[in-house]
Symmetry: C2
Subunit: 111 residues, 2 copies
């Protein structure tokens, strides 16, 4: 994903998927699929928002926010997303970690 | 923080602080303080690990992991960290969002 901006979220509680990854060398279709997944995720029921950054060294963090665990499970099972997951595992990421949790509190400073 | 690597965490549950931010222009002492906060956080009771990325456009995500909500509260109240928080709010970040939650599940692919 390349959503280098803040997600606008409702008040907690909500659920989160924290996806940390290190890219393999070469694009291998990654950018196109990543763009597609951003659009597709945003269109899923229960999607609240996402934020994403990747550094020049290939290490990245994408955090997505969801209304329920069921919404996360449905997105995980989405047919097109499953193909992306399998390709990611086989080709795009040399290492990734996924942590799923429930956000209880939130605060910040807006411009 | 500039920990562009994976945190090695125990099995869930554990707690997380997801810190998204956009830097203001200019360093203004930021890099030195950020390095110091990485070292200091890692030395706190209940700290499990952290991952951090900042993009070229100044948007960054740092996710830290903690053994309990009490450990997060103690770190938030740490005197030196409080100075960093106040300076961050006043000077280093034009926008930030903090979301605190509990990680329930985790999985991944290691090289």
């Amino acid at each position: 994903m390349s959503v280098s901006a803040f997600a606008r979220l409702p008040a907690p509680p909500y659920y989160t998927v924290i996806f940390s990854s290190r890219r393999s060398a070469g694009d291998q279709g990654y950018e196109q699929m990543a763009e597609r997944m951003v659009v597709l995720a945003a269109d899923q029921p229960g999607f609240l928002g996402a934020e994403s950054v990747r550094g020049a060294d290939g290490f990245g963090i994408t955090v997505s926010y969801w209304i329920s665990e069921a919404a996360i499970a449905a997105w995980r099972s989405h047919a097109e997303h499953r193909i992306a997951q399998e390709t990611g595992k086989a080709r795009w990421y040399e290492h990734y970690e996924i942590r799923i949790g429930r956000v209880e509190r939130a605060y910040g400073k807006s411009p």
